[in-house]
């Protein structure tokens, strides 16, 4: 396959960015999207040019490091995958592909296609945990948990923290991300104990860091590589409002 790439290049957070066009040739349809970018970068290095910076790591869809807004969609034109799992067979020979970084006020660009997602860490530091120290905990089977609850917790806990929800949301909202964590812990008896505190602290931090509010468009759910449901946002709303009303 031969493809034209329109890629966002930006030296640093402070400098202005622009699109640059590149050509890649003889790409096998079985190549992954990031491997295609590897090939481009290898060519650029041989031509004495600066390679394109993009975040990536595990290349199997679980670490959440890769991002990229490809042809208008977070993680590109396929459902339930991350960019590293996207393969070139999803494109046609001769296509022009536009590649942009996540764009959201809370995710400033570091360079080219890499953005700073440390805001996510900060939200989780505000309360995305269960306050237990190591050791001195009861036996793992001491508290039976209904399978349905454990499964639902697992559904929410599948979040990989990639930021596709924020990148897709027209409001730059992190509600799905926050809801996934709140919901994952709220569904377990161990996490219920501080559920109210957690919901309040995480929402407050999310607001403070400049994420937008949720207007229930559901775009986050559609673009989430792990298919996390916005029903978790409803649970977050419930948890948060109930907690606030008690204050």
């Amino acid at each position: 396959m031969n493809l034209k790439l329109k890629i966002w290049r930006q030296k640093s957070a402070k400098e202005k960015g622009r699109f640059e066009e590149y050509q890649v040739e003889n790409i096998s349809p079985d190549t992954s999207f990031l491997e295609m970018l590897d090939i481009l970068n290898n060519n650029l290095i041989h031509e004495g040019k600066d390679p394109v910076v993009f975040d990536h790591d595990c290349r199997e869809g679980i670490c959440g490091m890769c991002s990229l807004f490809i042809d208008g969609r977070a993680h590109g034109p396929d459902d339930d995958i991350t960019t590293c799992q996207l393969h070139m067979r999803k494109f046609k020979d001769g296509d022009t592909i536009t590649i942009e970084p996540w764009r959201s006020a809370a995710f400033p660009i570091i360079k080219d296609l890499a953005v700073d997602r440390s805001a996510f860490d900060k939200i989780l530091q505000a309360g995305g945990f269960i306050s237990v120290n190591t050791g001195g905990v009861p036996d793992a089977n001491a508290i039976p948990i209904p399978k349905k609850d454990a499964d639902e917790s697992m559904d929410a806990s599948a979040c990989i923290g990639c930021g596709a929800c924020v990148a897709t949301c027209k409001n730059g909202s992190a509600m799905l991300f926050v809801a996934a964590r709140v919901s994952a812990l709220a569904k377990l008896p161990q996490g219920r104990i501080e559920a109210a505190r957690r919901a309040k602290a995480m929402v407050a931090k999310m607001d403070e860091l400049g994420f937008g509010g949720c207007t229930n468009t559901g775009a986050c759910e559609a673009e989430c590589p792990k298919g996390i449901s916005i029903s978790h946002i409803a649970r977050l709303n419930r948890e948060f409002l109930a907690a606030k009303l008690k204050d």
């Binding site: 290095i45 990536h56 190591t134 009861p138 089977n141 399978k147 499964d151 599948a158 161990q190």
Partner: protein, 647 residues
């Protein structure tokens, strides 16, 4: 007397750990606040250690190369974590887990360490459940288990096909809690580039800020390395792209000895290589072997037709299939340990039965399980893995069998540590995959997660106290000393040297060449001539690297090529040590298979008389040959025997 003192406590095996805990010193809470600890890496070992030490009140600084601690490659572990809970009433016990691990490791691991691992395994599950890890449960609300290779009991706890992710999120949450409390300070996108010794003790590190290129000094009373394995020396592996051996390698160069570098695990169930442009290999969880059956056609005619795509696998009748694992190892069948399964696949492919166009693939077939249990059950168990397979290969594994082939997955070798997990440098510790201690020559499935968390949550918080109790009078480590200055200067010079080359080849070009050498000569099957050749080739390639590599840009920016080049420079040295170690070990054991040493049936032939030792390498400086030290292994509680998975 060897320079190696493993500090294994005396007394009966089952009492060693408790006795040791009772004997070692502790640090009072008031003094803990005054002590600094650096942790490199935020996977299960490092993340758990940093959290647990923070909880104890130490001042912890934790470093990772990713943008968040949550991205460490522990996250990619799929299948599960072992523990000797015996919840299934199938006669599991601490001893049985210990025994299976020693046997699975082909009798090349230390008894005392492995027994402790089995002992604390149960606490790990308790801890993770308390942290909110959503393990799979049965309808009664209790925890569910599955089976893994090398075990005849069901002791593996799992969270769908994302167990590593869930355990890491648990450790990361515990870490976040400490970061919020201020006991832990997190430094993401920071790479350790050197270890600093003061008076022979580990006292700090030099890092590069990966975004700005700033070179920084950090001092501490102790340094913990939990930077994972070095499988990426092969270029193609199941490791993450950024996984590297550099932190461990810097420790080696500063005097920490390196143990069993040649012990590499080749995982049997990975998606086969598709072409030269491939950047990494994808693992398909070992748990798939619970229900999947591995086969190739019995007849070459069918193989030819498959390769020409004239027939589909599902069209080959049952009696024309060779379920070679079930044939060769009736007792364990498809659930033999990884090294055995990998070699068996290679044997069939070498014999010309590989089922894809490259001849390097075998089938992993679920049709029997789907017929027995129904598609829904299989979907529930492995849905995400099947989906992942289909996304990558465009083949629906519910209809056609998966194609798999072995790939580099894990390195059992690593920095040598004693029973306290301290390296040969005082104050320097190594945890998880970065150390060598628990898996011998082959790691059993679902044991890496167990080891990382055991080391991080339940071993290091105790053992480090013993060392630090002698350091409570030591003030904060001053980084404005000649030692730090020299280390920083060394780092700056190395970077400047790499950037100055401006040759003609990209880092990946050279790395791929290294990978090719490693896979050809230091891969699944090794022999003397090949290993000697590999060492020569690696030396040549290393020289080429320092002449021909081209790294664009500067140090003072986000420069991913520079990061890769620094790591590759270390791989080019590490690779040679791996070959040297493999050459030295004139036997076959676990993941290390020397073609000269095999039984008539093609099984690994161990030589316990001459090689029942840990090969520990000491760096003697550039252009000097490393020196081999031996830590003899004593098996007092297990009868050493030829591994038998046949009956």
């Amino acid at each position: 007397m060897s320079v190696l003192d493993s500090k294994i406590p005396a007394g009966p095996l089952a009492d060693k750990w408790n006795k040791h805990k009772a004997d070692i010193k502790v640090v009072s809470p008031a003094n803990k606040r005054k002590l600094d600890i650096i942790v490199i890496g935020t996977g299960l070992g490092g993340g758990a250690a940093a959290a647990a030490l923070g909880e104890l009140g130490y001042n912890v600084k934790v470093f990772c190369i990713s943008d968040s601690p949550r991205r460490a490659h522990s996250i990619a572990a799929q299948g599960g974590i072992n523990a000797a809970k015996n919840y299934q009433n199938d006669n599991d016990s601490v001893y049985r887990l210990f025994y299976d691990t020693i046997k699975g490791g082909d009798y090349r691991a230390r008894e005392a360490n492995v027994y402790r691992l089995a002992q604390v395994s149960n606490s790990i599950i308790d801890q993770c459940v308390a942290q909110g890890v959503p393990f799979a449960r049965d309808y009664g609300g209790l925890l569910d288990n599955r089976s893994f290779g090398g075990a005849q009991v069901s002791r593996t706890f799992y969270a769908r096909g994302q167990t590593g992710q869930q355990l890491l999120l648990g450790a990361y949450a515990a870490l976040n809690r400490q970061i919020a409390k201020g006991t832990v300070k997190s430094y993401p996108r920071h790479e350790m580039l050197d270890l600093v010794l003061v008076d022979g003790k580990a006292r700090g590190i030099i890092t590069r800020n990966l975004v700005t290129g700033e070179i920084e000094r950090f001092g501490a009373h102790a340094v913990i390395i939990a930077s994972g394995g070095y499988g990426n020396v092969f270029f193609l592996s199941t490791n993450a792209m950024n996984s590297n051996g550099s932190a461990a390698w810097q420790c080696y160069k500063k005097g920490a000895m390196f143990a069993n570098p040649c012990f590499t695990q080749i995982h049997p169930t990975c998606i086969p290589v598709h072409g030269t442009q491939q950047s990494k290999l994808t693992l398909m969880s070992e748990s798939l072997r619970n229900d999947g059956r591995i086969w190739v056609p019995k007849h070459k005619e069918d193989v030819e037709k498959l390769r020409k795509k004239e027939i589909k696998a599902s069209q080959i009748p049952e009696d024309q299939r060779d379920y070679y694992l079930e044939r060769r190892y009736p007792a364990f069948g498809n659930l033999v340990p990884r090294d055995v399964a990998s070699r068996a696949a290679k044997e069939r492919c070498d014999a010309g039965f590989g089922v894809n166009d490259t001849g390097l693939a075998v089938f992993l077939d679920f049709s029997t399980a789907i017929a027995r249990l129904g598609k829904e059950v299989i979907e529930q168990r492995y849905g995400n893995l099947f989906q992942m397979y289909e996304k990558i290969t465009d083949v629906n594994p519910y209809e056609e069998p998966m194609m798999i082939y072995p790939a580099v997955h894990y390195t059992m070798g690593g920095i040598w540590v004693d029973y306290n997990l301290m390296t040969t440098i005082p104050g320097l510790y190594a945890l998880g995959e970065a150390n060598f201690s628990d898996h011998g020559a082959n790691r059993l499935g679902a044991s890496a997660l167990m080891q990382g968390l055991a080391d991080g949550y339940f071993v290091i918080p105790y053992t480090i106290g013993d060392y630090l109790s002698k350091d409570i009078q030591t003030p904060k480590i001053d980084t404005n000393t000649p030692e730090f200055e020299a280390a920083e200067k060394g780092v700056r010079e190395k970077i400047a040297k790499i950037l100055a080359i401006q040759g003609t080849r990209s880092v990946d070009d050279i790395h791929k060449e290294l990978g090719h050498i490693m896979w050809s000569y230091v891969g699944m099957a090794r022999n003397k001539d090949g290993l000697i050749k590999a060492m020569d080739l690696i030396r040549e390639l290393r020289a080429k690297f320092w002449k021909e590599v081209r790294v664009p840009g500067t140090n003072e920016e986000f420069n991913q090529e520079l990061e890769k080049a620094i790591r590759l420079a270390d791989f080019l040295e590490l690779g040679e040590l791996m070959a040297r170690d493999a050459l030295n070990r004139e036997e076959s054991c676990g993941g290390h298979f020397r073609e000269e040493y095999q039984t008539e049936e093609g099984e690994a032939l161990r030589d316990d008389e001459h090689f029942a030792y840990v090969a520990v390498w000491e760096n003697k400086g550039e252009n000097e040959e490393p020196v081999l030290h031996k830590e003899e292994l004593h098996f007092e509680n297990i009868k050493v025997a030829q591994r038998n998975y046949k009956d």
